[in-house]
């Protein structure tokens, strides 16, 4: 703190005793406001502010404030915002998730961080392509796989897939549920979430919404 003792002395030039500032003055000039304001601002910004926000949020937006949980028969089945791991053929599947130790681990979010020229990325995409092909054998070979179905999302908790990604899975779901392709496509079309202001973001479908709508359509 050498600068503390030297710097302000120059400032006090017009005062009668320019260089006579004692340690006590220094404490008064710099240390006291530093400690007092640190304390006061911690109380205001670190305690009162979050407590106030939490109080108001819990009162006026209780559902969102507690994680937008979705219930079925009184049991929480998901958060509408957090993607889940889907494996069964009668449900739409989400994007690959790179969270550890298991996919869609909602207490340890993250992406793969694989770089574009890393051979591990190629290997992962290859494995994802094989997985998608295995799950959807009825899709003709001429149909390319939408990129979002074989790439890991940023959060590992992506709740959405592209419209193309949903259509790709239609033959499998129709077969597994004994529905027509048109019925499944109608459900997709009814759940497309457009861009914000018609401009920002992408057209997406929420996987959980689709799957709940499928179950509902069949009275489950």
């Amino acid at each position: 703190m050498a600068s503390v003792t030297t710097a302000p002395a120059a400032e006090a030039a017009p005062a009668p005793e320019p260089r006579a500032e004692t340690i006590l003055h220094m404490v008064g000039r710099f240390i006291r406001p530093a400690i007092a304001l640190t304390f006061l601002l911690t109380v205001v910004a670190g305690i009162l502010y979050p407590l106030t926000i939490t109080g108001i949020a819990q009162a006026i937006f209780p559902s969102q404030a507690n994680g937008s949980l979705v219930y079925k028969n009184g049991q929480p089945i998901a958060s509408s915002l957090i993607g889940q791991y889907w494996t069964q053929p009668q449900y739409f599947h989400g994007r690959p998730s790179a969270t550890s130790p298991t996919p869609y681990n909602a207490s340890n979010s993250g992406g793969s961080n694989l770089g574009p020229t890393n051979s591990a990325l190629q290997a992962e995409i290859q494995a994802n392509i094989d997985q998608v092909r295995k799950e959807n054998p009825d899709v003709p070979d001429t149909t390319k796989i939408p990129i979002d179905l074989v790439t890991s999302s940023a959060s590992g908790l992506d709740p959405d897939i592209s419209v193309a990604g949903a259509y790709y899975q239609v033959p499998r779901i129709a077969k597994a549920r004994g529905m027509t392709a048109a019925q499944v496509e109608d459900i997709i079309n009814a759940h497309i979430q457009g861009r914000f202001m018609g401009i920002f973001g992408e057209d997406v479908v929420n996987v959980l919404e689709l799957n709940m709508a499928l179950d509902k359509a069949q009275g489950k």
């Binding site: 400032e11 089945i77 770089g115 094989d130 940023a154 959060s155 908790l157």
Partner: protein, 588 residues
Amino acid sequence: MTFTFNGLAQIAVFFLILLLLTKPVGLYLVAVFEKKNTWFEPVLRPVEKAFYWISGVKEDEEQDWKAYTVSMLVFTVAGLLLLYAIERLQDKLPLNPMHQSAVDPALAWNTAVSFSTNTNWQNYSGETTMSYLTQMMGLAFHNFTSAAVGIVLAVAVIRGFVRRSGKSLGNFWVDLTRCMLYLLLPICIVGALFLVWQGVPETFNGSAVVTSLEGFKQTIALGPVASQEVIKMLGTNGGGFFNANSAHPFENPTNFTNLVEMLWIFTFGAGLLYFFGKVAGNTKIGWALFGAVSFLFLAAAVICFGAEQNGNPLLNTVHATKDAVVSVDQTYHEYALAQPGGNMEGKEMRFGIGSSTLFATVTTDASCGAVNSWHDSYTPIGGMIPMLNIALGEIVFGGVGSGHYGLLMFAVLAVFIAGLMVGRTPEYLGKKIEQQEVKMASLGLLILPLSILGFSAFAIVYPHGVSQISNPGPHGLSEILYAYTSMTGNNGSAFAGLSANTPFYNWTGGFAMLIGRFGFVIPIMALGGALAGKRIAPAGPGTLPTTGVLFSALVVGVILIVGALTFFPAYALGPIVEHLLMLAGKTF
């Protein structure tokens, strides 16, 4: 490069909204810092006075640049020590429902420096390391104060540029208090509630446990997220509550929140440019700088978008094992079979390419460092843009305050260089730019690359440094370069594949952040202090006009030439060579 109409429209509309916000925000800044009445005066004025009374601050006492700087340093050190103590003791303190243990010393040091310097580099995963108390009292507190410190430093430097007499730059404690009470807290209260409405959690309960329709059990981390999220963006801090940062649906659930979060990052940077012109007595001076940085912003946003929308050509050659013709589709489609296409690795579906690359540009133009997609997984050129944005000094609207005083430094250099070229007297705002000013501007300019390139070179020759790389080949060099660029630039975003939570990276990174913050701001404050005492000479025929397109272009030229000359050799070995190898089909 591939462009879509929608992608370019996102950039254009975002920029238009920012343009509309600039003047009102700037005028409000004038009210706060020139002590005009704000709307909150009746409620907050007594609180403000009580703060001064308790802290022993005399409201009308002015400080010169040295006293102002020392006040800032003492305040920052106090906060840094407090955060370090909270981290080390969090297991013994309340509000720890998930029973997080104490943070180890190297990580606690790195994090304490990181948050008190407005960097918010995170070598930890929020949901598995920090207690709610640490997140709130430690981290959120610094999100506020480090932002406020940045803003008031910029205001002090501006005063040096525009004041007609005296050597004083204002009073640090008064500016800090007013910035917190009148500026940051009111916006944050409204902003946090907006975020909760959109789906961002705000609770002190532990995680929620759900059982999916398929019977999978999922534990969902929650917390007081919204109250932190807003100041994280508004204060260009960028430290996420969750590891996935603004890609996490709980931090950034919709495209509405994504747009607002991007605007928050730029709000004060843009507003300060207007503020500067206003207090200098000619708003055209502010708009000239606004024009310069707008050009840099738009160019970067368009290039980054084009590179990512083009996708990764290496993936087009990957085929299914069983039926070898089936490959992936990286092209953009509208309407019935809509999909974003492009390089979607490490990006969220709802943001697609356009809103991801725009966010990446904004967050690195400013010193925010929040991410809604993983820059490490960007194509080489797409990932080079964010890195270059930071390396140029984050002066494009910039971090709160820091971007503004960084840009003023470039303005001084532009005036000086132009003066040398055409033989005109170097003057800015009627004040002569002389030896002392140019020395200080050059010092500030040299310190950043010294830290970025110096630490990177050290990490590359040090075996441990290289061993933490996750992506081999030239991309590995980019990971290290990005890390020290981000920490020195007080940005905090990362090529996150690098495993930087080691004593080596924690300690060196901590020093890089300190150098980047204080090694830069002290010369700038000296520059402001030197200018403060100067007489304002009326503009003569030999004066270079510092308004208008010519001056904007000159500033852009200085920024690009300095930046390119400094960093091109390093980038040639990292992202540029990786791009060429990618086109040649080479993997590592």
